[in-house]
């Protein structure tokens, strides 16, 4: 009874590396925003708040998340619906819900509630997963995907779907089913291209393969991003010295393309160190997942950390020109309160799941 209050649940490795990452992020943001102090201060406030949230969430017992998972999912779908109906339109897409002066990207919550809900749904089922359970799970995933993708935010929609699919996969989805699903996806790809994708999304994919075809239009972002990263060389141009960044050739430096800023100003060395930090965090998550106390925790840690990793990889691949341009921030570094808060929230859950050990029955 007494150790419930004396013990603070936290993971020193994650805490330290996330602290390092988000502090570095503030420096990068300072340069990327052409030394916008006000912006950096606001962002540091979010970082501080995020840490508090993370530590707070870490203290909750995993069972709390398990028990409230359905409520959590319904709440986030509800928020999404509100956004869809009433949210302000920003850049042609409705993604934000405004509460007072605080706007929140409602799909962020879904990235957490969906894997938790599915983990809760599947953790006590026998292996292998039965078709009925699979259909239920997949239906929920598809529903969530459609809700987000219709905003339209295909990138986040895919991430949300992935967050669910990761859990489904980790809980033992049969390989033959995965193979079949993959085949269907390939067969349906022309349909997806023509029906599901908006013209601007088609444009982005086309641009990836030939950015020079439209150097001042759709290709501009990716060309400038590659120039920024490439011109950084091994050691970079120095903090605040990147001409691509400081003279605004690079688009969206504070958000999606902040990695290009890092590449330009800190070079390959900086990129390598940053990626190592991310890699360390992921490895720690993997360790926590493997050593978690029960199947539910394992599934949640695995699902959330893999979602985080996918998010990261998609952003990186996009800015280096390996994937089409999708709106996806660089976790912990890009400007944006809701992204930061939900990331810290996610790592709070991971910490909670990873550090709460089972009481041995007495």
């Amino acid at each position: 009874m007494n150790n419930k209050f004396s013990k603070i649940y936290f993971d020193p490795y994650l805490c330290f590396s996330l602290f390092l990452l988000s502090t570095l992020g503030l420096f990068f943001l300072y340069s990327a925003s052409n030394a916008d102090i006000a912006l950096v201060l606001k962002q540091s406030a979010y970082v501080a708040l995020g840490f508090l949230i993370m530590i707070g969430v870490s203290q909750a017992d995993p069972d709390l998340f398990r028990r409230t998972s359905a409520l959590f999912l319904i709440f986030s779908i509800f928020l999404l619906a509100i956004t869809f109906l009433f949210g302000p339109e920003i850049n042609g897409a409705q993604r934000w819900v405004r509460i007072g002066s605080f706007s929140f990207q409602s799909s962020e919550l879904l990235k957490l509630s969906l894997p938790i809900f599915i983990a809760n749904f599947l953790f006590d089922k026998r292996l292998p997963i039965q078709p009925k359970e699979m259909v239920v799970t997949l239906s929920i995933i598809i529903l969530a995907f459609i809700l987000v993708a219709r905003q339209p935010d295909l990138g986040t929609g895919l991430i949300v779907a992935l967050s669910g699919l990761f859990v489904l996969f980790l809980s033992g989805l049969s390989w033959s089913f995965i193979g079949g699903l993959f085949a269907i996806l390939v067969i349906c790809s022309p349909l997806i291209w023509n029906v599901l994708l908006q013209p601007f999304q088609q444009q982005r994919i086309a641009t990836l393969f030939n950015p020079e075809s439209d150097p001042f239009g759709a290709g501009w972002n990716i060309i400038q991003s590659k120039i920024a990263i490439g011109s950084g060389g091994i050691f970079g141009k120095g903090f605040g010295e990147g001409s691509q960044t400081q003279l605004n050739f690079l688009p969206e430096t504070k958000t999606d393309f902040i990695f290009s800023v890092i590449g330009e100003e800190f070079g390959f060395l900086g990129v390598f160190l940053l990626l190592s930090l991310y890699f360390f965090i992921l490895m720690r998550c993997l360790y926590l997942a493997l050593s978690a106390r029960d199947r539910f925790c394992r599934l949640v840690i695995g699902g959330i950390s893999l979602t985080f990793a996918a998010n990261l990889i998609i952003n990186l691949s996009m800015v280096v020109g390996l994937l089409p341009v999708v709106g996806m921030p660089l976790p912990f570094i890009s400007k944006g309160g809701s992204s930061l808060i939900s990331l810290f929230f996610a790592f709070g859950i991971i910490t909670s799941m990873g550090t709460h050990k089972k009481f041995l029955p007495q």
């Binding site: 026998r126 292996l127 990761f166 996969f169 980790l170 809980s171 033992g172 400038q224 590659k226 120039i227 920024a228 990263i229 490439g230 011109s231 950084g232 060389g233 091994i234 001409s243 691509q244 003279l247 605004n248 050739f249 590449g263 330009e264 070079g267 390959f268 990129v271 390598f272 990626l275 991310y278 890699f279 992921l282 993997l286 997942a289 493997l290 199947r295 394992r298 599934l299 695995g302 893999l306 990793a309 996918a310 990889i313 990186l316 691949s317 280096v320 020109g321 390996l322």
Partner: protein, 612 residues
């Protein structure tokens, strides 16, 4: 049982989560590899791309070299003016702007309407529009005091290309004007940046368009300077990084002589024609004048559309360079060459005499070829034939000649060829041969055709430039000079005539003697100009018939119609016996050669010899 199942589940989970993390790890490596490819393998090309992004280099226009005459006086120079220059992209309402600036500088109603029109038409030069040229000192002072109000205008130091003799050097010097299509590729500045060039001339990036300005453009233009700006993605200038000053173009030293050219223009007056004068020791062209002419200053610095149309549609064709392109029958001026052909080919001797009854009858068909004097010149040898310009003598000589041989002999004097090494627009014309006639007129060559050529008529035509070249060779006793307007160290002339006209020394002396007699003796056809000077001149006059006349009535009719009147021609050199200059003059519809063209030639020679 439960424990076992949990273990199975755990193993299953572990392998799957590791599988996914390995996949992600591979993606990580792919990203890292791509970053490596960008930053390490392709570093230099991306570094260059980043530099090209931020560095915006613009050319700085150099000052063109001046064109100097042989004494070093400027024929074309750069004149500095202070202009009120506006920046149209900073002016929202041009009318309002004019109202505000009018108290500062005086604007004529014409200047106002011109400005507004150019503003509407966006007829700017590199984002600049000149509002008023040649500001007075007072206007400059007034503007400078108020310049802080006018952020969209400034006083610019701008040059203009001007000639102090705008109408007499038009054809030879040509003009330069704004050109949007020609760039200096010797500096590595992208084409699109040239609209932002820093200007030195009020007319923008000027290039030579005709004449020496065109031929020697590379020599005159100089080297563009460069200013490198750092710009941001919106194209705003952030700062100036580097500056390389432009290099002024080289001055062009020509053989032209302002005084002689002016005297040619003056003595030709408003008659149509051309004058070419050559310095014998250098082959330099001292005079190259074609009349009527036009003002190169106006053409370079802005001419109204109406004025330009008038020039183009003028029936006298002022743009036509008669000196280098006009095709005139050489008429009697060809006779010395025909005579020399006869001597060289042993068809005649100096002392061989013929009877000149005033006409020549072609033995084949009895056709009669008349001389200019009724009754003829009686007994005529070569010298007398040249002096009195006996047609009969040269009809007979030509009758004995083979046309192919004659044509090739004439070509060694430069007929049918370009002779001026650096003229902008010289016409080579052609040499009439049996082949030429068959190709062009689809008719075979008759002996009568050769007979006509003996007196420089028929199919034979030449330019005043070719005539001057021809007489210069005679004056130089057979030495062929490559002609050039520009002095030897700068000339672009690549004409290299190596085979000289060979004639025994004694024959040259006799030829000079005979041609001196044309002007200086009592019998010479051009004796009327003998007393216009106090040095001796040799030469040959000619009257080029434009229509062949068979009756006296026809002759009188032609006299009344100016455009059908004969051209008068003279080719001359002097002072004798040691000639320094050769000159050719053609006056269209001027009639009798010696008396009309002669005085012009004498004026030019006097000017060249400083015997004014």
């Amino acid at each position: 049982m439960i424990f076992e199942e949990r273990q199975v589940e755990k193993n299953n989970f572990s392998s799957r989560v590791v599988f996914l993390f390995v996949l992600l790890g591979i993606s990580f490596l792919a990203v890292l590899f791509q970053v490596f490819a960008l930053q390490v393998s392709s570093y230099s090309s991306y570094q260059l791309a980043a530099l090209n992004n931020k560095n915006y280099s613009i050319p700085i226009q150099p000052l063109r070299g001046e064109i100097l005459d042989r004494k070093g006086d400027a024929i074309v120079r750069n004149e500095l003016t202070f202009d009120l220059i506006t920046q149209p992209d900073l002016i929202k309402n041009p009318k309002l702007f004019l109202e505000r600036i009018k108290p500062v500088v005086y604007l004529s109603p014409q200047e106002e309407t011109d400005y507004l029109q150019k503003f509407q038409e966006k007829a700017f030069v590199n984002k600049e529009l000149v509002l008023k040229k040649n500001l007075t000192a007072e206007e400059i002072a007034r503007f400078n005091v108020r310049s802080f109000i006018f952020k969209n205008a400034f006083i610019g130091k701008r040059y203009r290309r001007v000639s102090d003799y705008p109408k007499i050097f038009s054809h030879v010097v040509g003009y330069s004007s704004r050109s949007d299509q020609q760039f200096d590729f010797s500096i590595n500045i992208p084409r699109s940046h040239w609209v932002d060039a820093e200007l030195t001339y009020a007319n923008g990036l000027i290039q030579g368009k005709t004449g020496l300005e065109e031929t020697y453009n590379q020599h005159l233009i100089g080297k563009h300077g460069e200013r490198v700006y750092e710009i941001n993605a919106k194209g705003r200038l952030v700062q100036s990084l580097e500056y390389y000053p432009p290099e002024r173009g080289l001055d062009l030293n020509t053989h032209l002589d302002i005084d002689a050219q002016a005297s040619a223009a003056l003595s030709l007056g408003n008659r149509k024609g051309a004058v070419v004068a050559i310095e014998l020791k250098s082959g330099g062209i001292n005079v190259l004048y074609s009349s009527p002419s036009y003002s190169i200053n106006k053409l370079s610095n802005g001419m109204s559309e109406e004025e330009f149309q008038n020039l183009i549609t003028d029936p006298d064709k002022p743009f036509f360079n008669r000196a280098a392109q006009g095709r005139y029958p050489p008429a009697s001026t060809i006779k010395p060459a025909i005579g020399m052909f006869g001597l060289t080919n042993k068809l005649i001797e100096w002392d061989d005499e013929i009877d000149d009854p005033g006409f020549f009858t072609l033995p084949e068909n009895g056709r009669i070829y008349r001389g200019w004097k009724k009754g003829g010149h009686k007994n005529v040898n070569l010298k007398k034939a040249l002096l009195v310009s006996s047609n009969t003598y040269f009809f007979k000589l030509a009758y004995k000649s083979d046309m192919k041989d004659l044509a090739s002999y004439l070509s060694s004097f430069g007929f049918g060829q370009k002779v001026c090494g650096d003229c902008y627009d010289e016409d080579a014309v052609f040499l009439p041969t049996p082949d030429w006639k068959f190709k062009n007129l689809n008719s075979s060559w008759f002996t009568g055709d050769t007979v006509n050529i003996g007196v420089g008529q028929g199919y034979l035509v030449s330019t005043p430039m070719q005539l001057a070249h021809y007489i210069a060779i005679i004056a130089n006793k057979g030495e062929i000079l490559p002609l050039s307007i520009v002095q030897a160290d700068q000339t672009l002339s690549r004409i290299d005539n190596s085979n000289n006209i060979k004639l025994p020394k004694a024959d040259w002396a006799k030829m000079h003697d005979a041609l001196t007699g044309v002007i200086e003796s009592d019998y010479g056809t051009a004796r009327s100009i003998r007393d216009l000077k106090n040095f001796k001149v040799a030469g040959k006059s000619g009257t080029a018939e434009l229509v062949s006349l068979d009756s006296k009535e026809a002759y009188l009719e032609v006299r009344d119609t100016e455009l059908l009147r004969d051209h008068s021609i003279i080719i001359a050199f002097g002072p004798m016996p040691n000639p320094q200059y050769a000159v050719s003059v053609v006056i269209e519809n001027g009639e009798s050669g010696g008396a009309v063209a002669g005085p012009v030639a004498i004026e030019v020679l006097k000017s060249l010899l400083n015997e004014q």
